[in-house]
Amino acid sequence: MPDFTHGFTIDASKCKGCLACMRACPTKAVRVHDGKASLLPYLCVDCGSCLRVCSSGAIKPTTLSFAELDKFKFKVAVPSPVLFGQFPMAVSCDHLVEGLKSIGFDAVWDYEVELALINRATSEYIEKWQGPFPLISNTCPVVVRLIQVSYPEMVDQVLQIQPPRELAGRDLKQNYAREHGISPDEIAAVYITPCQAKTISILEPAEQTKSHLDGALGISEVYNDVLVAARALRKKEKAPSKGPGCKTGMVRWATSRWLCPELSRHRSMYVSGLSNIIQVFNDIEKGKLRNIDYIECWTCWDGCIGGNLTVDDVYITRSKINRLQAELPAYDPDLEKKVKLRFPNEDFALKGRLRTRNRGDRAYDLKEQVKRIKNEEAVLKALPSLDCGLCGAPTCKSLAEDVARGDAKQSDCVFYSNERLKQLRKIYMHNH
C-alpha cells in the first residue's frame, strides 16, 4: 500500500473511540476498531472534517513547532490573507507584523503582487485552454486530493499553475538571500494557515515536486500570542489610529478569487463546501455540466475563511473582510505597474504532473473484482441499513465493502453478534 502523508495525525492514546470523526468523514475513510479511530489512507482527501469534530484532542494537524525552525537562520511568515480578518478591527497590519515577529519570525512577507500575478496567469490559462472543460482551481489542496482519489479521470482538468503561497515562498527566499547574503536553504518560509490541508500540499505536493514553503503554523496556533503582542503595542501608541487597521491589498484575496473582475468575466462558477463540490463533480463526470470553462472550488464553507484552524466565526470574518476590502482603492496603479512589469518574465507553471492515487500496484483480475462486488451486495442485503456505526464502519455499505475485501466480518454488526455487544460494552461502558 502506498504511503500517503496526511495533514493530521490520530493519537491512539488520546482517542476515546467516540465515532464523531467516522460519522463526519465525507469520504468514509475512518474506521473505529477496539475503541480507536484509524484511517484508510487511500480514501482520505485531507478535508479535516474529522479534526473539526474531534473532542478528545486525538486528531491534531501536522503543523510545525518553533523548535523545528531553529535550524534556519532567517524565519519568514507567509500569512494566508484570511489571517487579516481574524483579529479585532483595531489591530492594524503593523501590529500583526510585530505580533508575528514577537513569536519568533524575522519578517512577514506581503505577497499582494504574487496574488495578483497568479490571478492574471489563471485568467490567461483559462483563455488559452482547449479542454477538457471545465478547468478546476487548484489552490485548495483538498480539491486536488479529491480529484486524485475519487475523480481520477479529471486530473487533466486541474489548473497547472502554482498557488500564490508557493510563489510567495520562492520570491521571499530569493529576496532575503540577496538582502542578507545567506543561502536560500537557510531561510524558512512558514505559511500561516487557515487549515491543516495546506500542510499536506507543503509536505507532499500532489505534483510530486518540492514545495517552496518549509511548513505551516495554524492561525489558531499563533492567534493568542500575536493578539497579546499586538494589544501591548497598541497600548503604547499615543494616539491609536481610528477605523479598520489592516490596509494590505492581500485582503482582496481573503475571499473568493472568483469575485474579482479578472476571473468573473470568464464563464465560471464558484462552489464551496465539500458535498456541493462532489455534486458538481458528479455532473461533470456525466457530461451534464456544459458551457462552464472554469470552476473555483473551496472545500470549506465560504472558502478559506471557514478553515478549521481559524479562530473567528466565518460570518464575522466575512463581515470584517468586507469592511477591510472597502477601505482599499478599487484600482491600485502601483500594484498594476508591478504586475505589468513582472508578468511577461515569469513562469507560473507547476513543475510536476498531477497523478491519480490508487490502492497500489497489483494485478487486476476482473472476475475477482466482480465476485467481490457481488459478495458486497449480498452482505449489504443482510445488514440492517441503519448506519449506526457500532461495527466500526460509518455505514452498512462501508461494512459490506470491508467484509468483501476481507478487512472486517459480518459479525462486527451488533445485529449478528452478542459478542460484539459485550466487547462494545467493555470499551464504552467502563464506568458502569
Binding site: 475519487s150 481520477p152 479521470e153 458528479n282 455532473d283 463526470e285 456525466k286 457530461g287 451534464k288 456544459r290 491519480t356 490508487n358 490502492r359 487486476y364 476482473l366 472476475k367 473484482q369 466482480v370 462486488i373 457481488k374 458486497e376 465493502e401
Partner: protein, 146 residues
C-alpha cells in the same frame, strides 16, 4: 463464441421524470468505480448512460437501460417505447435537436445526445420505428483501456 457474462443489470427509466434523471448513470458509475475499472472507461460508460437516460426522459414514454459486463466488453442496450426517430441520420448530426423550449430552459437539448453516444462507443447501433420506439446498442471494449 460469446464471452461469459460476468454481470448484468437492468434499469427502468420513466419518460418525463427529469427529477430522477441521472440516477442510473450514477449507479453504473459507482459500480464501475467499485470494480476499480480504468478512469477513461468509466467516463465513456457514464457519458453514454447519461445521454441515453436523458433521451428517454426527454422524448420517450418509458425505457430500459441494460448493462452487461463480460471479460472483453461493456455492452449497453437502451430500448424505449416512444415516438421513435424519423430521420436517424439527422438525429446523429451534432447540434441537431428536437428539444422543446422547456427542455432547453432546463439546460438540455444541445443536440449532442446520440452523437455523444456514438462518439464514446466502439460499436454503435441504432434502430428506430416511428410510433413504436428506439433501440440503441453500444459496446465499449475493455482491452483498449488496459
Amino acid at each position: 463464441m460469446m464471452a461469459e457474462v460476468l454481470l448484468k443489470k437492468s434499469f427502468e427509466i420513466k419518460g418525463g421524470d427529469f427529477d430522477k434523471a441521472g440516477e442510473t448513470s450514477d449507479e453504473i458509475k459507482q459500480m464501475l468505480k467499485s470494480l476499480e475499472m480504468p478512469p477513461g472507461l468509466i467516463r465513456r460508460t457514464v457519458v453514454i448512460t447519461f445521454e441515453a437516460e436523458m433521451n428517454i426522459v426527454m422524448y420517450a414514454y418509458e425505457g430500459i437501460v441494460t448493462f452487461v459486463l463480460t471479460e472483453d466488453e461493456i455492452k449497453l442496450e437502451i430500448s424505449d417505447s416512444g415516438p421513435g426517430i424519423e430521420d436517424i441520420n439527422k438525429a446523429l448530426t451534432e447540434g441537431f435537436s428536437t428539444a422543446t423550449d422547456k427542455m432547453r430552459m432546463m439546460g438540455f437539448g444541445f443536440g449532442m445526445g446520440l452523437p455523444n453516444i456514438r462518439k464514446n462507443s466502439d460499436i454503435f447501433n441504432i434502430e428506430s420505428e416511428v410510433g413504436v420506439g428506439t433501440r440503441v446498442s453500444s459496446v465499449i471494449w475493455l482491452n483498449k483501456h488496459a
